[in-house]
Subunit: 337 residues, 2 copies
DNA sequence: TTGAGATGCTAAAACCTTTTATCACTTGAG
DNA sequence: CTCAAGTGATAAAAGGTTTTAGCATCTCAA
């Protein structure tokens, strides 16, 4: 492969072409020091002409800010990580900060390797993500020389975390059903040992308590099969049937809808369904298309990115867990407009 | 936030503690120059003790190798990008190379911004990915001062590209059906203007030609709805029905399977189905679980990463398009063991 | 005893940028 | 005319590492 590229223009080239010293060129370009406006303009013009862009390595060496951060994730599908990381990097690219993505694949050795590479590269900060809010992190981040932010994960007490507001999201779902006139609302959800599952269930119960209705939570698994199984159980017991079901995930919701159709019940006219996740490939393909809760992963990433920016600039950032609001995505499975 | 961290140990600290000069310390650590073995061991031990790791910024400045590369993608779901990037970075992390992930979100301005940030950071190379093999890239990469590799995308003639072997993958699917005794095999697939779709269709036709059977391709859309529609068409026309269907995507396959069930036909006993993609959330949840083709995205990423490594080290790499083999994932939808 | 050759270590330069301290020169006031 | 203050530019240092060239010191042969 022929790579006949002459080396990039440095500030020395600019200085030479402008007939000034390197320091003057630097001052002119950065608006520092005392510079004659005529000189400044000339330097800037010439820099533009020869396409000078400062070497971030050299700059970082001096300023001790590499303008890069690391995102460590154990996600393998990309379902959570990519939208989130896109949010992070969208918030940061305007400030010249780029994002190293490190997929640990749940492998401790790999995670450690990634972390060391990040440290060597003098990243300004590290964002940790996980596929579960309550899973222990893959590496020890407790005594790093740079700030750490947790996104879609809950860090220790003296840290900054961003998580979806599961309670608010669940309330959004249930209140939507209530606003459509439903009273008998069932909650079919995932395994109880997920903190997110417990939170959504609690919020669901709160909503039904508030209107004086009985609540019922069926904990189970993720995946569609559990939706089928849950429907079997409901239909095999005495009436009355629920008028609506709030599902803990879109996959479960899909299983529920398919199972109801198999049993001759129609959605939404017989039973209304709300999901949780807005995982497009599932929610949009379900028949009828699924009304569901969007966790705003990109926005969550954006917020985490901005917090990181503040931290790296030494601005004060409040410790604690920031719950990011979810939103209701209305499709067809509830019968609402 | 309290960040009471003393600065990282530098090689000067090592030299000081070992009672040698900085150059000796460097030589000892890197095995360069002439160094007494006793001195070398002492320096290494002390470096270990005080946790010295060389500053990659300083090192990169001198060596003109930042040990980082950029991956530019327009994928928003993460379905393709995350496994691929994980493959890339898994291949590179052992060599101390980290990966900047840049999601352009199909926004030209954003793409340009990302590219400039990468150039400033002196990345050693750039890998471009796209959600379609045949889509024009988001940025102009034609005259960059560093190597470019295309992954899941086809670059210009004088470039290095890695793409899934759509033909081989399609053959794998069709031959699996043939090996199970099927002769009347239909192909329901996506829009004809995708090059991947055309290739799979061509390979499919080739297989049927080879056994002297008629082939039939139904081009349509992605998504499940097209699967339903296609089944309606097939069942509304005179017999005989196909004994097997090779679908151009897992989503389509799912639509087909669901539609067949709705019409009282059972999979695989009445009709066998093979999909394409091995998109886990779809393939594993389909009832019966989908036999499908895996494009080996992670392996593709790994290969692209290794090619990039060679390029950055000045080793010769052959131009051209490398087709990465797909594999057959057998589940339940064909009736095979 | 001298010189060559080997051995072990080090000073200095280089990579590129920014900042600090300093220098040369001009201007205006006293 | 002198001094102070202001203006515009620059040399040098700093950031952390690697490499090159060179400096001592020692050994051994002549």
């Amino acid at each position: 492969m022929i790579t006949g590229h002459r080396p990039r223009a440095t500030i020395r080239d600019v200085a030479l072409a402008a007939g000034v010293s390197v320091s003057t060129a630097s001052n002119a370009l950065n608006g520092q020091g005392r510079t004659n406006s005529e000189t400044r303009d000339r330097v800037k013009r010439i820099a533009e002409e020869i396409g000078f862009r400062p070497n971030a390595l050299a700059r970082g060496l001096l300023s001790r800010r590499s303008h890069s951060i690391g995102v460590i994730t154990n996600d393998t599908y990309g379902r959570l990580t990519l939208p989130m990381t896109a949010g992070v990097s969208e918030a940061l690219v305007d400030h010249g900060v780029s994002v190293f993505l490190c997929a640990t694949n749940n492998d401790t050795r790999l995670a450690q390797l990634h972390l060391e590479a990040l440290l060597d590269k003098q990243v300004d900060g590290i964002i940790l993500t996980a596929t579960r809010l309550d899973h222990t992190p893959q590496v020890d981040l407790s005594s790093l020389p740079m700030p750490v932010v947790y996104a879609f994960a809950e860090g220790p007490a003296n840290s900054v975390s961003f998580v979806p507001d599961d309670c608010q999201g669940a309330r959004l779902a249930v209140e939507h059903l209530i606003s459509l006139g439903h009273r008998r609302i069932l909650h079919i959800t995932g395994p109880e040992d997920f903190v997110a599952v417990r939170r959504r269930a609690t919020a669901y119960r709160g909503c039904l308590d508030a209107i004086g209705e009985k609540s019922e939570v069926m904990f189970g698994a993720w995946g569609e099969e559990w939706g089928h199984e849950a429907v079997r159980r409901i239909l095999s017991r005495p009436e009355p049937r629920p008028g609506a079901i709030f599902c803990g995930s879109d996959e479960t919701a899909r299983g529920v809808i398919d199972a109801l159709r198999d049993h001759g019940l129609s959605v939404p006219s017989d039973i209304a369904i709300v999901g949780f996740d807005n995982w497009h490939v599932v929610a949009a393909q379900t028949r009828p298309a699924l009304t569901t809760i969007d966790m705003g992963l990109k926005e969550l990433g954006r917020k985490a990115g901005l917090a990181m920016l503040d931290l790296t600039q030494g601005k004060p950032v409040e410790f604690g867990i920031n719950a990011i609001g979810c939103s209701l995505v209305i499709r067809k499975s509830c019968g609402a407009v």
